[in-house]
Symmetry: D2
Subunit: 350 residues, 4 copies
């Protein structure tokens, strides 16, 4: 069978790089087009030296052109900034192409909320009802039928997967949830900026964007749907001197009298048929290295009787599960392939 | 004037190493004795190659002997495990020596609470009323008169300094406080254990000891004293792939209608004459590198109107401010020296 | 077809961990046995949390027993210390099992040389003539027919691949070769020792074992064979604060008047049909991250007219190419499988 | 006595930052002026948050103006790019100010050599004979009388100190010297560039500028003076994922029959009265962390009988000893102060 032809717009960032890595080993897809204005004309293998001798390395980088892509590709991944993505996604879906958008442009159902947090006008509101939020554990059936998938943000993926069983079954209160998230530096992107230099990040730790990070509305949208009632959460990100990984420590108040055993079972049941969520044995806590390079989300559960809390710890790889791996997984579902195709590698450590 | 003669019991760990470093440059103290059973007989400069050519490097390591120390030293720092420390502190104070104990043995006023969390019997309860909790910003006058100072834990130092102004003036509620702390790996000590290996820690992030870390009662004791009422807090530590530093993100609920400007001013007033606490300008957040190697505690303040919270971020160097530097600062006060003597270096970065 | 049944003796180190990782995705092999005295009785997935939900995680760790292994396995990887390995390799080959030995026991053809550098008596000298040095680029045909493969050391793999084209064709002199190698910390193993602690390794750099590292005789043996004359080299390792990777900078003297273009072509020709050696375009130098997690060896070439030198830089992943990935590749060849089976993943970065 | 007034031109880089750090604690100097076009008008303590509450933090950053500086300062440190520095150094020395230039502009005595390696025209050749190469161990007396000191490069400092005793006494041959140097990332400066991003540097290792780095002529100039004959060396730098530190492994050929004991003694004698060079006991090798934040240069010596070599390993802090600390040390000498004033801190680790 011919392989599904994949286009990738935006190759200079880490999510583009990760898609190129994963597509190398995909049994049913192949990268045929890579777009970047600044690197146009070069071989992808020259821009990504790690890719040499591997499938995709001989792709010649071109400038984005909707019609050209529509001719050559079956599906396109958009790894471009928000604002830009909505235009491209519009053009490409109009031309009948399937699109997985890694930006935030189609994640938030309410355009007003989007415009308020992102400070841009949404020019393709018509597509919002068609776009599916690409979290396979929650929306697998919708993703299978979607033409446009809004790939979730990295922090929201960790927070939503961590809270979904507890909120959907009323184990915890929707009030007073605090999500304290810690991300590796790849989350800051591949832009040349002083604050991302090795010597500025290494051997240090800091918080940023407290109480105002743009992933907040996306988290609240999905948690509200799970809880069946509008929620407001306190979401607060931090920067870790590591490459990949997000660990979210989620503080909730118990709304039931369930024991830790029972809560653990509820989590296990919720994720029963979901191969990429691992509810850790009681007493174990996740470490980001155990999910590095993979689609896994590891979840640890702790109850604190002194304060009446359930503390949920979830760990993902921010670039793989939190972006490109999840995007590929969504594309698999859109084409009727197994979710795991090309993204079932074991985590790599040490 | 003759320099104050310093003894150091426990040289093989990072707090001992840091004391040796700081004593090198102290204008009025000198290290005359270093004790360790396992390294006895070696030159301190051979055990600590960084110390060669510097004051203290020619000290011959000896086995601890209370009478010998009493003869040769004016003050002794105990950098030994809890349990062991209470015995030595007892012997040395009985012999009239001043002691700064870096262990937890004399931090908790209530021996029952101590025994419950540390699972050991306290054999020198008689000293508890005499021991002063060595946080200079809160207890400077008592420290000046103390013979035995219980040097605070690293996490408690960051948490208490972060919350003191808010709790003591009723800015925030004492209910529902969550302290999410992140520590560099030096906090795990210098023991040979797999979990502290470079390849296990590096490029990863994890939580540990959630809801049950032994620093909890120490934090609650001091916060309760500040609030004037018994408090229960949720304290949760994490391990960062960096050497030094603790950053605590503290989630509180506002109990007043003060603006961020007013809250900031209350913090600035509280720490007005305290040179080693820096309340950062509004909009700035601390980074652990900005306090590396120093006694500074940097505090950032954020209000979140959406959730009615004050988020306090505090950063310290866990070995310097959180242990040895603070210990030296306490010893300064005990001898009538300026608090800053020998510990007023600028932070070192990058 | 039934999968080839794999046994792994020694699971507690990083090479065992890497074999478990790679076997997860192998199309024709499956891990059926994992041996460790200390962890016996546990599930492999409990000892390796990263492995949960993946093939091999349900293997119950057992104590090594030659007959039991011979019954259940078609091939065994020995990830145990030298000395121990020769005994097991002897028992298992006597029982007709194929063995890939990751230790040094069968790498050195001359037992006297082995005993001099390793300070142990070789008890299975009878097997030395049968053992094949498992560097596929040099010995592919012999490996295919071998029952016992001596998997090369990590440093030797980088040095030999870097020098093979130059020495075998007389481009450089065999005299005065200096190999300055730098390894990630995983090379120090997973033993609990102070010198491998995060806080001892991180943010520092050091040399070790200068002029006396045990990989020296293995390097000299293979370089001598390539040059056709006995060579003595200066091999000197260093420790890098990173997890995986070896980069060797090899200083040679030009023995010809070839231009860099011609030398480059000689390298390209030498590795023409070898998919896992990438001779980088002139002007490019390798970085260890570009080979991380893969079997690739990247080689960069620089000529220095001022000093009449050819400087060769080679980079590998020390655990994958330098140990477990190469071992798996050798096993593939021993069973008539493609060399790349299960080890053709793209490098993972950032 | 009034403190010596210090000006610092170029504050945005790591060498400027390090000078600000060290000046904080200087007993006889104080920073009164800091120049930067881009940051003009800000408080130095706002640009360097680590500096708040410390001497120098209240300096208002200004645009460089030679006459203004001449009025307000006794000595000026130039932490600006080469080319720019020669103009400023000219203006300031013409105005009678003492200058320590951290750039390469006055390090190389032969203007032709300078122009060939740096590809710029030297516009102040008249100053070359007056400029003193600021390596205190070799040129202390000249530095004391100098008005203009050319502060050595970081790599040259490590290489020259490592080789000086051996070359000046004929222990090793001047032929075939290979210097394999490894530097922390602060050496790449504080420019916003992709290649210095955390995610590009971290967990990887690479060589760069092999055989053509601009520090080569500076090294050769000084080694030739020491050997008394023109030398050509092979100098090759590498990038280590750490902040500070340079370790140089220097491969030489023995030109004598001295034992390691005798060679060690020759080194000890050479550096007898030099407090900041530590010749390590035989069998010990330097680690960059042991000199972090200090002026120390640690030297380890290994003889290799198999290859007839002396291998010298030297370690420095590239920013402190390799730049700003050495600059301050030179300024001390220029004003008749002890070399160690303000730069005698113990190294900081872990």
């Amino acid at each position: 069978m011919d392989k599904i032809r994949v286009g990738l717009v935006g190759i200079t960032g880490y999510t583009g790089m990760e898609l190129a890595r994963l597509l190398c080993g995909h049994p049913s897809m192949r990268l045929v087009m890579g777009c970047s204005r600044s690197e146009s004309g070069r071989l992808l293998g020259d821009f990504y030296p790690f890719l040499r001798h591997l499938p995709g390395s001989d792709v010649v980088i071109t400038v984005y052109n909707a019609k050209e892509i529509a001719k050559q590709c079956d599906v396109v991944f958009l790894a471009v900034p928000h604002g830009k993505a909505m235009v491209m996604a519009g053009e490409l879906t109009d031309l009948g192409i399937k699109v997985v958008d890694l930006s935030a442009d189609f994640r938030i159902h309410d355009a007003d909320v989007y415009e308020k947090w992102y400070k841009v006008t949404h020019t393709r509101k018509d597509l919002l009802p068609k776009a599916v939020f690409g979290l396979p554990e929650l929306y697998e059936e919708q993703i299978k039928k979607a033409q446009l998938v809004a790939n979730p943000g990295c922090y929201p993926t960790s927070a939503i997967l961590g809270l979904a069983p507890a909120l959907s079954s009323g184990i915890v209160s929707g009030q007073d949830i605090v999500i304290d998230s810690k991300s590796g530096t790849s989350g800051a992107g591949r832009k040349a900026q002083v604050t991302s230099l090795f010597c500025e990040v290494h051997d240090s730790f800091k918080a940023y964007g407290l109480a105002k990070h743009r992933h907040t509305p996306e988290i609240e949208q999905e948690l509200s749907l799970l809880a069946g009632t509008p929620l407001t959460v306190s979401f607060n990100p931090h920067l870790v001197p590591m490459g990949r990984g997000i660990l979210s420590t989620i503080y909730t108040k118990l709304a039931c009298t369930m024991s830790l055993d029972e809560i653990w079972q509820a989590y296990a049941d919720f994720y029963k048929d979901k191969p990429f969520v691992r509810v850790l044995p009681k007493g174990e806590l996740p470490e980001t290295r155990n999910v590095r390079g993979s689609l896994f989300c590891d979840i640890g559960l702790v109850t604190d009787e002194r304060t009446g809390r359930l503390i949920i710890v979830s760990a993902i790889d921010n670039i793989c599960r939190g972006a490109s791996g999840q995007a590929l997984s969504n594309a698999n579902l859109m084409f009727g392939l197994p979710q795991a195709a090309g993204v079932n590698q074991a985590p790599i450590l040490p």
